[in-house]
């Protein structure tokens, strides 16, 4: 058994002739908060989808708690203990916040415990006033928070967040950052993000993707100081 919670070995994903991922090796320890960053098309989102079971990698292994989950069904991966927040909020739009959270608590069988947990999570994420609102009629930022609450509620061993700050107001982004830092106290978290400002607010360790490979990995400040990283990603962005 590996000391790592998650270990990807030589993961590749080809779409026709396009190599979206070209041999990624990635390790994550329990308790970490890691940001995956990189310009569009760098492969970070594809890697993310391989982790969630949406894509079946063309090659390679993804060991989660020592078991290979590469190419497994989405629900099996979820049951293994990976919780996912997608880029565009994916929710039960016809149901209320409470009902959404009820469904997220799949493994809690006791009704009283379930209700307590729902109330607790709503409090933690700050959505208690939205308890009986139907998701389909809520604002984008609120929906993002509900989805995050669902992930928190399901209490996974690994939390995957795909661009959680997208489309949020500044106030919401700050609250989100504090929620994520708080979440990291008890959970291992991976965040895909390209907003540097947001990354600085939450991250410690970052992994930079470029052209389907990992370009650099390390502490956020040292990575941001790295000239190669600046050239391929930040340089272009800031220099433009």
């Amino acid at each position: 058994m590996s000391v790592h919670l998650l270990e990807a070995r030589d993961v590749a994903m080809h779409f026709g002739g396009v190599k979206a991922l070209d041999g990624v090796d990635f390790r994550l320890k329990k308790g970490e908060l890691r940001c995956l960053l990189g310009p569009n098309g760098a492969g970070k989102s594809t890697f993310f989808r391989c982790l969630t079971g949406t894509h079946k990698p063309t090659r390679g292994h993804i060991l989660f708690k020592g078991t290979d989950i590469a190419g497994k069904e989405r629900h099996d991966i979820a049951r293994a203990g990976i919780g996912v927040k997608t880029q565009v909020p994916s929710l039960f739009d016809g149901l209320t916040t409470h009902e959404n959270l009820w469904l997220a608590l799949r493994t809690v069988r006791n009704a009283v415990a379930r209700e307590e947990k729902i109330a607790d999570v709503m409090e933690r994420v700050g959505i208690s006033p939205l308890r009986d609102n139907v998701l389909g009629r809520m604002a984008h930022g609120q929906r993002q928070l509900v989805e995050l609450a669902m992930v928190v509620a399901s209490d996974p061993d690994l939390v995957l967040l795909d661009e959680p700050a997208a489309g949020m107001t500044d106030g919401e982004v700050e609250r989100l950052a504090s929620i994520i830092r708080d979440l990291n106290r008890t959970h291992t978290v991976v965040v895909v993000e390209h907003d540097m400002h947001f990354i600085r607010m939450i991250a410690d360790q970052v992994t930079v993707f470029h052209q389907g490979r990992i370009l650099a990995e390390g502490h956020v400040e040292s990575i941001l100081a790295n000239q190669t990283v600046r050239d391929v990603y930040l340089g272009k962005k800031h220099g433009a």
């Binding site: 969630t52 079971g53 069904e73 989405r74 629900h75 979820a78 049951r79 919780g83 996912v84 997608t86 994916s90 929710l91 039960f92 739009d93 016809g94 149901l95 209320t96 409470h98 009902e99 009820w102 469904l103 997220a104 799949r106 493994t107 069988r109 009986d132 609102n133 139907v134 389909g136 009629r137 669902m150 399901s154």
Partner: protein, 345 residues
């Protein structure tokens, strides 16, 4: 089309339905002429049929264009088994079991192939047509299963009536009526209960968002398969009751049968249970009255009703009435319940 049926208590509805059924069982056979009694038994069987699709489509989000396949299969399974065994109790189990089994096979093919809604509609419709064609072509002595002649487009006119278990005495029309009442009520109560269980809520979750349900660890394909099989079993039960109030014939598989059940659900309100049953009764009575008058072809009425409802009353009668009632009963600002209905639009 969405709704929050989820955590609402359903006890009162079921209790009301129970009272209504008891009243019907006690009073109706005493006052109604035999002909009406048999007809109402037939409507009851159709009500069970309506529930099978109301559950599958309204809560499972699976639009089956060929629900009549299971209805017909249930009836044929019953008739063939009853003729061969000479005992109707075991045959009744066949009426529910065979359609469920068939649905399990078909559903595995559909859901595990991850076919989308439209293809699902096409394939279920096609399967119904295949069965209809096949059964219609089974005229003559060559087509028999054991003792039972399939009879082609004539059906099986000598479909055995249900008998009392152990004694073997055939049920009287009043007995059959009672049985149909109990079956309709039991199916309603079962569906009502089912949608509040963990399983039922998971099924609703899959209807709402399959990907999210899977990301939370729900096995969407298995849940869809399960609700499909349950619905087919209910349709089979409806077929059994139908077979006992009329007899078994290929029209049970027909496209117009498939269309009718769809219309009841659309008219009654997708995502409701009482609505489709009420719509089923109302439309059957209307169709019978029109048929008696002979003024207008029933297809014209059914077709018009379907078009008008899809275009103008897309939510169906039950939600429309509930919203109207809430508006009358509450001050203009609206209660939370009213908001809920509004939000569910």
């Amino acid at each position: 089309m969405t709704l929050s049926t989820f955590c609402r208590a359903s006890g009162t509805h079921v209790a009301l339905a129970a009272v209504a059924m008891l009243a019907a069982i006690v009073i109706f056979p005493k006052v109604a002429p035999l002909y009406t009694l048999i007809n109402v038994t037939l409507y009851m069987s159709m009500g069970v049929f309506a529930l099978s699709l109301a559950l599958l489509w309204g809560y499972g989000g699976i639009l089956c264009f060929g629900q009549s396949a299971f209805f017909g299969l249930g009836a044929y399974a019953y008739a063939i088994a009853a003729i061969n065994f000479g005992d109707t109790t075991l045959a009744s189990a066949f009426a529910i079991g065979i359609p469920a089994l068939f649905a399990a096979g078909l559903g595995y093919f559909l859901f595990y192939g991850r076919l989308s809604d439209v293809y699902l509609g096409v394939i279920t419709l096609t399967v119904t047509l295949i069965l209809f064609k096949l059964i219609n072509s089974t005229g003559g002595d060559a087509w028999r299963i054991g003792e039972a002649r399939l009879g082609g487009f004539n059906g099986i006119p000598n479909t055995p009536l249900l008998t009392m278990p152990f004694t073997g005495i055939p049920l009287s029309p009043a007995n059959l009526f009672t049985l149909a009442c109990i079956a309709l009520f039991a199916t309603y109560a079962l569906c009502k209960r089912l949608i509040t269980t963990r399983f039922g809520r998971a099924v609703i979750a899959v209807r709402e968002n399959e990907v999210r349900a899977e990301l939370l660890g729900y096995n969407a394909r298995r849940l869809k398969l399960a609700i499909f099989v349950i619905s087919a079993g209910i349709a089979g039960l409806a077929g059994l009751l139908f077979a006992n109030s009329v007899f078994v014939s290929p029209t049970m598989f027909s496209l117009s049968m498939a269309a009718q059940v769809l219309i009841w659900v659309v008219v009654g309100g997708l995502g409701t249970l009482f609505g489709p049953v009420a719509a089923c009764f109302a439309l059957q009575i209307a169709a019978a009255a029109l048929g008696k008058l002979g003024l207008i072809d029933p297809n014209i009425v059914l077709g018009l009703v379907l078009v008008v409802f899809v275009v103008f009353v897309p939510g169906g009668i039950q939600p429309a009435l509930a919203a109207l009632l809430a508006r009358i009963l509450t001050p203009p600002r609206g209660s939370p319940g009213h908001m809920r209905e509004e939000a569910a639009r």
